[in-house]
């Protein structure tokens, strides 16, 4: 029988993976390649889109080889991707305009502040569900248009295209300069600041506000929809679904009903709650976003609390400080001590995301005494992820009016038992990990499989969800409240560190930097 597998590509912040799933949603093969992180200046984070494309070119054939199958065995391909990362490229040559600007990049700080003072700024969130922030794509597109001579004209003519990573990969997979499809999906488009949440199309007012020419933008499609067939890498595979990685994880965790929520622990961490057919506007610093849109069915919406730095704090502990050799060792080191010793780390490396949205905040280690060892620092690193989760859960409960009864978790950091226990302790609810830790890839595969009839319906997918592990709260309430109060005091100390002007290094390449 043909079509025995579904393929997922998860184009993430640090690596790209290709995973094959069988009909029972079991992992058949996994191939992964990391790509380089470029940090040309403080606050700047870039990827080489060509390197990422080359990685896809390598891992897809290898995943097929490891499973011992070929393209004809694959029913469909689903793509999940790091969101908001912005790449511009030449339609005729396929050559990117410089590096891709990554979602963590804060170079648009000044620009965002300036835009915030313009007329129409207060309208932005009402139209697209997102606050004006360096986090999203539109300011990056604007920055590139402002800082690359002649680019605006080429973009207005449609000679230069914009995409987030899925758009870039689909365009290349379906032929590149030779007729590649220039498309995105509603979830990725909902992270640009340019899509109207009601119409699910590019919003003319927002395009005018950010000064982004419509000619460079991809067509917005439903999340499940046959976007085209691969003509490069491994020809002949239908590309049947696209979801932003966090939306894919929500889907992979089978959070199909309103009120169901998950948190994915990776480089950053992302808590999303399905809110049903109507967008809920947040009063507590959360984002309103599209959860998914299946073909012609109405879109489903979600509330999201993104946390910028969680796993990347562990990476910094490993690479920046050299205190551990590999990320999982953080747990070993943290277990050498019984508690944090009074030390707290607030990783506001590129400002704070939800629920604060303070782009001028910078990280802090507080409570240092001569008693503190690297073990305490390791504890503080893990606890920072726990407390940041708590703050977002508090905001979500306040906005939705529901108290989350448990939290479904996934992502690489769920391998850390000490951290997962701490999350259960500080939330005071059970934390559950599903049998599929790879929920991002699984969500992309589920969506693609649904689109082509490989899986019949959502209920069938739901039956695949099984609990693989559960952590129950154990921390006494008094201790929890005391620690939470300490954490919040530490957070307040990070506010206002970067000054609006002259606070950071001057940027000679930024002639628009004048206020």
């Amino acid at each position: 029988m043909a079509h025995r597998y579904v393929m997922a590509i998860d184009q993430g912040t640090t690596s790209t993976r290709c995973i094959l799933f069988d009909q029972r949603a079991r992992l058949v093969s996994v191939v992964q390649r990391e790509h380089q992180q470029h940090f040309p200046k403080p606050g700047w984070v870039e990827h080489d889109a060509v390197e990422i494309w080359r990685n896809v070119d390598r891992i897809v054939p290898r995943a097929l080889r490891e499973a011992g199958i070929d393209a004809s065995d694959v029913a469909a391909l689903g793509i999940a991707n790091q969101r908001e990362t912005t790449v511009l490229w030449d339609r005729h040559t396929g050559t990117p305009v410089g590096h891709a600007l990554v979602w963590q990049d804060t170079r648009t700080d000044e620009l965002v502040r300036e835009l915030g003072q313009r007329p129409g700024a207060e309208e932005v969130q009402r139209r697209c569900g997102l606050p004006l922030s360096t986090y999203f794509s539109a300011p990056r597109v604007r920055w590139l248009l402002d800082h690359t001579p002649g680019l605006r004209e080429r973009a207005a003519r449609g000679d230069v295209l914009f995409g987030t990573m899925e758009t870039w990969l689909i365009w290349n997979l379906t032929g590149g300069p030779d007729g590649g499809a220039h498309v995105t999906d509603v979830t990725n488009a909902s992270r640009t600041l340019l899509m109207n949440l009601g119409t699910l199309d590019w919003d003319p007012e927002l395009l005018a506000f950010f000064g982004v020419p419509r000619a460079m933008l991809p067509e917005i499609r439903p999340s499940t929809d046959v976007h085209g067939t691969t003509r490069r890498v491994v020809p002949g595979i239908r590309i049947a679904a696209t979801l932003g990685d966090q939306h894919a994880a929500l889907f992979g965790q089978t959070c199909f009903a309103p009120g169901e929520a998950k948190c994915t622990y990776g480089t950053g961490s992302f808590l999303l709650m399905n809110t049903g057919a109507e967008p809920v506007h947040s009063g507590h610093g959360l984002l309103t976003t599209v959860a998914f849109k299946l073909g012609d069915e109405p879109a489903r919406y979600a509330l999201e609390g993104p946390i910028a730095i969680t796993g990347s704090l562990v990476q910094w502990f490993r690479d920046g400080l050299g205190l551990i050799r590999n990320a999982p060792e953080i747990e070993t080191l943290a277990r050498t001590v019984a508690d944090n010793g009074g030390c707290y780390i607030v990783p506001a490396f590129s400002g704070l995301f939800a629920p604060y949205w303070r782009s001028e905040a910078r990280g802090i280690i507080v409570g240092l005494t001569s008693y503190i060892t690297k073990g305490h620092l390791a504890r503080a690193v893990l606890e920072a992820t726990g407390w940041q989760t708590r703050e977002v859960v508090d905001a979500m409960n306040a906005d939705s009016g529901l108290a989350a009864a448990n939290l479904k978790v996934d992502g690489g950091m769920t391998a850390d038992n000490l951290l997962m226990q701490f999350v259960a302790d500080v939330l005071d609810v059970p934390v559950m990990r599903p049998m599929h830790a790879e929920t991002v890839s699984l969500g992309a595969a589920y969506a693609a499989g649904l689109a082509v009839g490989f899986w019949p319906d959502l209920e069938g997918l739901r039956r695949n969800w099984h609990r693989a592990a559960q952590w129950l709260p154990q921390m006494p309430a008094a201790r929890r409240e005391e620690e939470y109060a300490n954490w919040r005091r530490a957070v307040e100390l990070t506010f206002g560190w970067m000054r609006p002007r002259g606070g950071g290094p001057p940027d000679p390449r930024n002639p628009g930097d004048k206020n």
Binding site: R24, A25, R26, L27, V30, R325, N326, A327, P328, E329, I330, E331, T332, G412, T414, A415, D416, N417, M435, H436, A437, E438, H466, R467, A468, A469, Q470, W471
Partner: protein, 254 residues
């Protein structure tokens, strides 16, 4: 009897060279000192780096002795790293077999459970990470004993505690069982630790074939075993596949 292996002699010479003087040398300096082609020296250095015996300074590109050499005697694979690397495959094994999965490493005469995946039936189960199991009475433990002669000798010198009437309590019986594990490449326990329960386990190997842990399933004997209490061959195949997948991830040869 085969002669000495030239590349191992060269690797030893490189380690001796790095153990002298400043202890930081570039690949060109090493190649020149030993009159090796630069490519040959580089290949050996990369291999030594892979096993942690040398480290390369990121800034200068020079090589020095690796931290792993100083800790040759202690377990070099962090148990939390083992769990992290095994996570996907342990999940896949639980999904395939329908049984609970555990990964164990030796700790002070017992099996330390370093990872546990619930049986995928959504019943109430408790995370057993950190629990200690007897080496001689569990499939996980028998795998660890089968590939560690020293550990096996120590266990056999002490009293072998009886948990059920099927527990192997004599040294000769255990010795025979461990030889059978090595022959088969996997181990089982059938009501040897807990009445009514069985386990199947296989070795997790890192580069060079060193066994660093065991992965296995456990559950009701009627599900894990067929006629005459023989462990189910299909389930044993799933366990071995998972063990091989984790081993591949850890750099073991196929």
């Amino acid at each position: 009897m085969p002669g000495p292996v030239q590349s191992i002699e060269r690797a030893a010479a490189i380690l001796r060279l790095l153990a002298r003087g400043s202890g930081r040398l570039g690949v060109g300096e090493i190649a020149a000192s030993l009159e090796l082609a630069k490519g040959t020296a580089h290949g050996i250095l990369r291999t030594l780096q892979g096993v942690g015996f040398v480290e390369q300074d990121r800034a200068t590109g020079k090589y020095q002795l690796g931290a792993a050499l100083l800790h040759l005697g202690s377990s070099y694979l962090d148990v939390n790293e083992l769990r992290s690397r095994a996570l996907n495959w342990a999940d896949a094994l639980a999904a395939r077999s329908g049984e609970a999965v555990r990964i164990g490493t030796p700790l002070e005469g017992s099996v330390l459970v370093v990872h546990h995946v619930f049986r995928p039936d959504d019943t109430l189960q408790t995370l057993e990470v950190g629990a200690l199991l007897p080496l001689h009475a569990t499939a996980l433990g028998k795998v660890l004993l089968a590939y560690d002669a020293d550990l096996a000798a120590r266990v056999q010198r002490g009293p072998l505690e009886s948990f059920t009437r099927r527990t192997l309590v004599t040294a000769p019986a255990l010795t025979r069982a461990l030889a059978a594990v090595r022959d088969a490449g996997w181990a089982a326990d059938v009501e040897e630790c807990v009445p009514g329960e069985a386990g199947i386990a296989a070795p997790i190997r890192s580069s060079g074939g060193l066994v660093v842990g065991a992965i296995g399933i456990s559950g009701a004997v009627e599900r894990l075993c067929g006629a005459r209490s023989r462990p189910d061959a299909t389930l044993a195949g799933h366990v071995r596949d998972a063990a091989r997948a984790v081993s591949r991830d850890l750099g073991a040869a196929r």
